[in-house]
C-alpha cells in the first residue's frame, strides 16, 4: 500500500498532524496488576503494551543453564502478540520478529540491572502487545523499564527509547529531515531507527536499524532520537515519582 508522505514538505506537518519533533501521547501506569512482582501498562499513541515481571525467583529446572549454578541472575524475556493487536487478526507464536524483540530487550537491559545481587535466580519479563501502531521496540523497552522499577529490581538508571525516521529532504542538498516517534504508517514508508539511551546524560544503550538510509542522515536521526529519549525519560520519571507520592 503506497502511502503519500510527500505532503510533508509542503506544510511540515505529518500525516497525523504532528510536527517533526513531536512525540505521540505517551501514557503509562505502573503496578497495574496485583498478582505480579511488578507490572506496567504503556501507551505510545495506539501502541499498547502490558508488561509484567515475575521474580527474582529460583531458576526453573530444565530451563537450560542460565541462572542455575551461575553467580549472576538471569533475565528472561517473553514477548507475545495478542491475536487482535494488528489491523488483521493474526495468530503468531515465536517467529523471527518476537525472538528478535526479546533478544534485543534481554541484551539491552541485562547490563543495567544489578543481577549480581541475585545469584541462581531468574527474572522473567512478560510483554503482551495488545495493540500495535509503530515504535514497537521502543514501547517494549519503555514498559520493561517501568515494570522492572515497579518490581524493585535494582538498576543503574532508566533505559528509555524512541524511534526516529528520516523523511525525504525539503531542501535538495541535505540528507533528509529526521522525524521523531513514527507510527505504523510512517514505519512502512520511511527508513527509521530505534534508539534507547541510559540516564540523564543520554548514553546510547540501544540502537537498532533495519532499513537502509543514506549515511549523512544517521547523525541527524540519532541527535533527534537522543533529544526524544530525554523527553520520554522525563515522562517515565514523572510516572514513577507520581506513584511514589501516593505512598509518601
Amino acid at each position: 500500500m503506497p502511502l503519500d508522505t510527500s505532503t510533508y514538505s509542503l506544510a511540515l506537518l505529518r500525516l497525523d498532524g504532528r510536527r517533526w519533533n513531536e512525540l505521540r501521547r505517551l501514557h503509562a501506569q505502573i503496578s497495574v496488576q496485583a498478582a505480579a512482582s511488578g507490572s506496567s501498562y504503556l501507551e505510545m499513541g495506539n501502541t499498547k503494551i502490558l508488561c509484567t515481571v515475575s521474580g527474582p525467583s529460583e531458576a526453573r529446572r530444565g530451563a537450560g543453564g542460565g541462572g542455575a549454578g551461575s553467580s549472576e541472575g538471569n533475565l528472561e524475556v517473553d514477548v507475545s502478540f495478542a491475536g487482535f493487536s494488528g489491523v488483521e487478526r493474526r495468530k503468531r507464536r515465536q517467529d523471527k520478529r518476537t525472538t528478535d524483540l526479546s533478544h534485543t530487550l534481554t541484551s539491552s537491559l541485562t547490563p543495567l540491572l544489578h543481577l549480581h545481587l541475585y545469584p541462581h535466580s531468574t527474572i522473567t519479563l512478560t510483554l503482551s502487545i495488545l495493540s500495535q501502531d509503530g515504535s514497537l521496540l521502543a514501547a517494549c523497552i519503555n514498559s520493561a523499564t517501568l515494570a522492572l522499577i515497579d518490581a524493585g529490581v535494582p538498576m543503574t538508571d532508566y533505559l528509555t527509547a524512541v524511534t526516529c525516521a528520516s523523511s525525504p529532504s525539503t531542501s535538495d542538498e541535505e540528507a533528509g529531515d529526521p522525524l521523531l516517534d513514527v507510527n505504523s504508517a510512517e514505519e512502512q514508508e520511511l527508513p527509521f531507527l530505534t534508539l534507547g539511551t541510559v540516564g540523564r546524560e543520554g548514553r546510547v544503550g540501544v540502537c537498532v536499524m533495519e532499513s537502509r538510509v543514506r549515511g549523512e542522515g544517521v547523525e541527524g536521526m540519532v541527535a533527534v532520537g537522543i533529544e526524544g529519549c530525554a523527553r520520554v525519560r522525563e515522562i517515565v520519571d514523572g510516572v514513577v515519582r507520581g506513584y511514589g507520592k501516593r505512598f509518601a
Binding site: 496488576q33 496485583a34 498478582a35 505480579a36 495506539n46 499498547k48 502490558l50 509484567t52 515475575s54 517473553d78 507475545s80 495478542a82 491475536g83 487482535f84 493487536s85 494488528g86 489491523v87 488483521e88 487478526r89 495468530k91 507464536r93 512478560t126 503482551s128 495488545l130 495493540s131
Partner: protein, 368 residues
C-alpha cells in the same frame, strides 16, 4: 479435566482439614470470612479498551487475576452450501404468502456454522495445545454456540459471512481456576461488540457503512422488540460452584477449590421466554484439584505419635476407610449427590439467582 499443577496450593493436610470443616459448617465460614456462600470476589471491569478490535473488555479480580478479551470480525467467503436450491425454494414460498420482513427473518435463520466462531485462550506458562487452555476454550465455545443465535447473525449473504475471532488473554498467572472470569470477560466483550452496518443488498459483494456510529451491535439490545423467534439475545455466562458436604459455595478461590468435594461449571443465559430468572445451557463437572492433595496420617497409624504403622497396604486401606468420617484429611473421591446438583442449578437460575445477578451486573457496566 485433570487439574494442573499451577492450580495446586501448598497447604498441609491439617490446614486442608480445618478449611474443609469450616466450609462445611452451617452457615459456612469462607476463607474470606466477610463473604457469604453466594458472594463473588470483587472486580473491576471496563470495556472498549482496544482501538483495533470490534469489541473488547478487561476484568481484574481483587486477588490479581486479570483477563482481557478482544473480539475481531473479518469478512470471509462462504463455502458454497449444498442446500442452496432448497433455500431458494423456501424463499419464494415465503415471499409469496408472507410479507417481506418475515421472509428476511427466515433468510437468516439457521444458516450459521459453528466454524464461523473461533476462540483461543492464552494463559501465561501454558502452551497453546496444553490441556487447560484447550479445555477452557472448548467449554466457552460450546456454551456460546449452543444458542445458535450468534452464528446466524454472522451471516451476511449467501457468499459471505463474518468470521468472529475471540482472543482471550489471561494477563496474570492462573492463580485459581479462571473459567468464570474468562467467561464473564468474554460476555462483556461480546455484549459491547459492534459490526459495521451493511450497505449492499442481497448477494452483492458486501459493502459496509464506514461510519462507526452507524454500526450495529453484535447482540442487539432487546428494548421493545420482543419477538418469540429471537430467544437469546445475550451471550452466556459461566458460573463456577463447588460443593463441600451439604454446602454450596459460588466463585471459590484457589484454596477453597483445594477442599472441594465436587466442582460444577454452569453455563446460563437470561431467558427471554420466561419473564424472570435464567436458563441453563450447559453443565460440566470439573475435576477439582482436591484429588491431588496429600492425605493426612492419623495418630493411630503414625508410630511417631504412639500409633502402629499398618503392616500391609491392604491393612492401611482398611484402616483409612474406618477413619473416613474423622477429621483427618482424606482427599475427596469425587461424585456428587443428585439433589446437590439440583440445588446448585436452582440457586443459579432462580429469580434473583446468581446467574441473573451476574448478567445484570455486567449489563449495567455496559449501560453506565
Amino acid at each position: 479435566m485433570a487439574p494442573s499443577q499451577h492450580v495446586q496450593v501448598n497447604l498441609s493436610p491439617a490446614e486442608l482439614s480445618y478449611l474443609r470443616s469450616s466450609l462445611a459448617q452451617s452457615p459456612p465460614i469462607r476463607l474470606d470470612h466477610t463473604k457469604g456462600p453466594k458472594d463473588f470476589r470483587s472486580m473491576r471491569a471496563e470495556y472498549d479498551v482496544l482501538p483495533g478490535a470490534n469489541g473488547s473488555a478487561r476484568i481484574a479480580l481483587d486477588d490479581g487475576l486479570e483477563a482481557l478479551v478482544g473480539v475481531k470480525a473479518e469478512v470471509e467467503k462462504s463455502q458454497r452450501s449444498p442446500r442452496v436450491d432448497e433455500q431458494e425454494h423456501r424463499l419464494t414460498v415465503a415471499a409469496g404468502d408472507m410479507d417481506m420482513q418475515d421472509a428476511d427473518d427466515d433468510d437468516t435463520k439457521a444458516k450459521g456454522q459453528n466454524a464461523w466462531v473461533e476462540m483461543s485462550v492464552e494463559i501465561p506458562g501454558f502452551r497453546d495445545e496444553d490441556a487447560l487452555p484447550v479445555f477452557l476454550a472448548s467449554m466457552l465455545t460450546e456454551s456460546l454456540l449452543a444458542s445458535g443465535g450468534l452464528k446466524d447473525r454472522l451471516y451476511i449473504n449467501r457468499r459471505f459471512h463474518w468470521k468472529l475471532y475471540i482472543d482471550i488473554l489471561l494477563l496474570s498467572p492462573a492463580l485459581s481456576y479462571p473459567l468464570a472470569l474468562l467467561s464473564m470477560t468474554t460476555h462483556l466483550a461480546l455484549l459491547t461488540s459492534r459490526l459495521p452496518a451493511l450497505k449492499s443488498e442481497k448477494d452483492e459483494d458486501p459493502l459496509f457503512d464506514d461510519d462507526w456510529d452507524a454500526s450495529v451491535p453484535l447482540y442487539p439490545k432487546s428494548k421493545g422488540k420482543t419477538k418469540g423467534t429471537q430467544a437469546m439475545d445475550r451471550p452466556p455466562v459461566i458460573v463456577l460452584a463447588m460443593a463441600v458436604d451439604q454446602n454450596i459455595i459460588f466463585d471459590p478461590c484457589k484454596e477453597e477449590l483445594a477442599v472441594a468435594d465436587a466442582v460444577l461449571a454452569v453455563a446460563c443465559t437470561d431467558s427471554t421466554s420466561s419473564p424472570s430468572g435464567a436458563q441453563v445451557i450447559a453443565i460440566r463437572t470439573i475435576d477439582p484439584p482436591s484429588h491431588l492433595t496429600p492425605l493426612g496420617v492419623p495418630n493411630a497409624m503414625n508410630s511417631a505419635t504412639g500409633g502402629v504403622v499398618p503392616a500391609s497396604t491392604a491393612d492401611a486401606i482398611t484402616q483409612r476407610e474406618l477413619l473416613a468420617s474423622s477429621d483427618v484429611w482424606t482427599p475427596p473421591r469425587g461424585g456428587m449427590k443428585r439433589a446437590l446438583v439440583g440445588q446448585i442449578v436452582k440457586a443459579v437460575v432462580e429469580k434473583g439467582g446468581v446467574a441473573e445477578e451476574v448478567i445484570q451486573a455486567l449489563q449495567s457496566i455496559d449501560v453506565g
